[in-house]
């Protein structure tokens, strides 16, 4: 196997990788980074994006549905 096949671990490049927190799904994070790399102009970082209302809304509805189911 030639040198061109050599694999090497490196610390992540912060300019490419989205923020990752301990409880994030690696699958979701990897997917998100793939999206960012494919379309760098539309780069989205979960820590930087505060105006998207979808997350808060879904969280609220999940919480609400749980309350309705169990209380």
């Amino acid at each position: 196997m030639g040198a061109e096949m050599a694999l090497k671990w490196v610390k992540p490049d912060p300019s490419r990788a989205a923020t990752f927190s301990a409880n994030d799904s690696p699958y979701g994070h990897f997917w998100l980074d793939q999206q960012n790399i494919a379309a760098p102009r539309n780069r989205v970082d979960v820590k930087q994006r505060s105006v998207v209302q979808v997350a808060e809304r879904l969280d609220l509805r999940l919480d609400d549905l749980i309350k309705r189911a169990f209380e």
């Binding site: 096949m5 671990w9 301990a22 994030d24 799904s25 690696p26 994070h29 999206q35 879904l58 309705r68």
Partner: protein, 596 residues
């Protein structure tokens, strides 16, 4: 609490839901649930013709699947009254909602109630709609202008097969009235993405919908009958993935366990039925000593245009705090030295480069569970087929991997599912582990169904169970050959060679809590079920077909024995074998007894 955890676990996805869900499915003006609409006969849970005959012998069947064909006659009474009391079409475009108030509390997709579906069936019967397909077009379930996969338009599909086996009755069978159905049609993206990236969020929200709407159904029936109604709910989830902790610690499993383990004030016992999976022979599970010397070859297939993942799970630890010395991953190609990660903190990742270009990534996490926790390294490799010119990719072939722990303990390595489902082509190709000691066939050419005792291999069939189905209280169903598989005229009842195997704590191999047919016989694959449209037929194979058979059986058992049936694998199996039906004086939702 679960909501908060869900949010944190999937924040990266939910924050960007408009990037992975169809934008027209996201509701911009979510409101509260409007119970007053239930009293409108045109929007009620059930039309008069579909009302249960005897509420003391009624059970609700819940289905979470792809494109449940709610207008199929096998889900109706007489072809004109829908037994679907409610269906949430998670991929439904909000603009297609037939009534703005129905489903207005859901963050995405559209909803139909039973009376609405009965109204559509009435339009069909009276010539106002041309054919059954027109019902789906009018409800917005089929809309080719949207550009997404229109699985509801398929002649046959997974959701139709599962719905038939879990809840299908002849439309003239009076017994069907006592089995109203609640359903959720998952978006096609969930089916296409066999990695399961998005599945937990959609499945969790689907379960919440089924519970909440069944509770409302019970209250609605109470208001009509004047006496308390607490119907049991049996939920079938014929979906699965290959990699995970497989110790019941995932959020999807813990949520189902919590639901099944508790009594609820306004609904009866709730049970979950899942398949064991179809990947026993897929070479996706291995056990390694994490000493850095024990290594394993991972074969990445060419022409795979989706990422490939391996999860390496360390042993369970007593402390909720992660160990100071982190698990490390070693990796390389060919005979050269292996590259070792340099993790110093949990919750971080390192990038892998090949020839200077991105090739993969390894994430290190500490997953807390039951007062302790487990280390896990998730290794993601780029596709071997770049999706665009200039996109990053990794060369196909063998990658040698190993793990390092300070004490050299054994670790489980699971390859994540990555196949490409018929009609939902993701372009994924299932990778696998290779080990010279692993035998696929015996010397006579027969496929080996089980691991060979004493075989010198780290790749094993045990533990290939569906990673969504390892909770304490779920009912897991393995696949068997059906009645056409006979020896001397007697059905063999043999377990199909591909049905996933569980590995319980004491080392026993489990084919499932119960088993049910997944194929007609060794030479006739598939179980014949209804297709999407009334009168059509399809043959579908796999443990996805075994689970709904048990769902139907359990619903009938609980409906017939409202005074108590202890839901244990042994009791269900006894009933399925045609034996006596055990009774208890205790509550119906007794815990399951097996853990994988």
């Amino acid at each position: 609490m679960i909501a908060t955890e869900t949010f944190s676990t999937f924040a990266g996805l939910l924050n960007n839901m408009d990037q992975f869900a169809q934008p027209d499915t996201i509701r911009s003006d979510v409101g509260d649930y409007d119970a007053s609409l239930e009293s409108d006969p045109a929007l009620a849970f059930l039309s008069d013709g579909a009302m249960p005959d005897d509420l003391s012998q009624t059970a609700v069947i819940g289905i979470i699947d792809d494109a449940v064909p709610f207008a199929n006659q096998r889900l109706t009474i007489g072809g004109k009254d829908a037994r679907l009391a409610g269906i949430w079409m998670q991929d439904g475009a909000v603009k297609h909602a037939l009534h703005p108030g129905i489903g207005a509390d859901l963050p995405f997709g559209t909803e139909l109630r039973g009376a609405q579906i009965s109204g559509l069936l009435d339009d069909l019967v009276n010539g106002r709609l041309a054919d059954e397909e027109a019902i789906y077009r009018k409800a917005g379930v089929v809309d080719f202008s949207r550009g997404s996969t229109q699985s509801a338009a398929f002649f046959g599909n997974h959701g139709a097969a599962v719905a038939d086996l879990a809840a299908g009755f002849s439309p003239d069978d009076a017994l069907a009235r006592n089995f109203p159905v609640m359903a959720v049609s998952l978006p096609p993206e969930v089916t296409r993405d066999t990695l399961g990236t998005f599945a937990p969020v959609y499945i969790l929200t689907a379960i919440l919908y089924l519970i909440q709407r069944t509770r409302r159904l019970c209250k609605w029936l109470e208001s009509k009958h004047g006496s308390p109604v607490r119907l049991p709910l049996i939920i079938n989830i014929s979906y699965g993935i290959l990699a995970g902790a497989k110790d019941g610690s995932s959020l999807v499993e813990r949520f189902q366990d919590a639901v099944s383990d508790n009594d609820h004030p306004e609904v009866g016992p709730i049970h979950f039925v899942l398949p064991m999976g179809n990947h026993r022979q897929s070479q996706t599970h291995a056990v390694l000593q994490a000493d850095g010397a024990d290594k394993l070859d991972w074969e990445l297939k060419p022409d795979d245009n989706t990422p490939s993942f391996v999860e390496i799970w360390g042993p369970m630890r007593d402390s909720p705090e992660p160990p100071e010395a982190c698990m490390q991953l070693v990796l390389g190609r060919g005979a050269g030295d292996l590259e070792r990660t340099g993790f110093t903190t949990h919750g971080t990742f390192e990038d892998l480069r090949q020839n200077g270009r991105p090739a993969g990534r390894a994430y290190l996490q500490y997953r807390r569970f039951g007062g302790g926790g487990r280390e896990v390294v998730t290794l993601a490799m780029y596709p071997t087929l770049p999706s665009l010119p200039g996109a990053d990719y990794v060369q196909p072939g063998l990658v040698r991997i190993g793990a390092v722990l300070p004490d050299g303990d054994a670790v489980d390595a699971y390859i994540q599912r990555d196949d490409s489902i018929r009609r939902f082509r993701s372009g994924g190709r299932q990778s696998k582990f290779l080990d010279p000691g692993y035998q696929t066939h015996d010397p006579a050419g027969r496929e080996l169904p089980f691991d060979q005792r004493g075989a010198d291999t780290s790749v094993i069939r045990a533990g290939t169970v569906n990673a969504f189905a390892c909770g304490f209280n779920q009912i897991r169903v393995g696949g068997t050959y059906g009645d056409e598989d006979t020896v001397d005229g007697q059905p063999t009842g043999d377990v199909v060679h591909y049905s996933g195997l569980g590995l319980v704590g004491d080392g026993r191999i489990i084919t499932g809590d119960v088993t049910a047919p997944a194929d007609r016989s060794r030479i006739r694959p598939g179980i014949v079920t209804m297709g999407a449209l009334s009168g059509s037929r399809q043959a579908v194979s796999g443990t996805s077909m075994s689970a709904p058979s048990v769902t139907m059986s359990l619903a009938r058992i609980l409906a017939e024995q409202p005074d108590g049936f202890e839901v244990t694998p042994q009791n269900i199996a006894a009933v399925l074998r045609g034996g006596p039906r055990p009774r208890t004086a205790g509550p119906q939702n007794t815990k399951g007894t097996k853990r994988f």
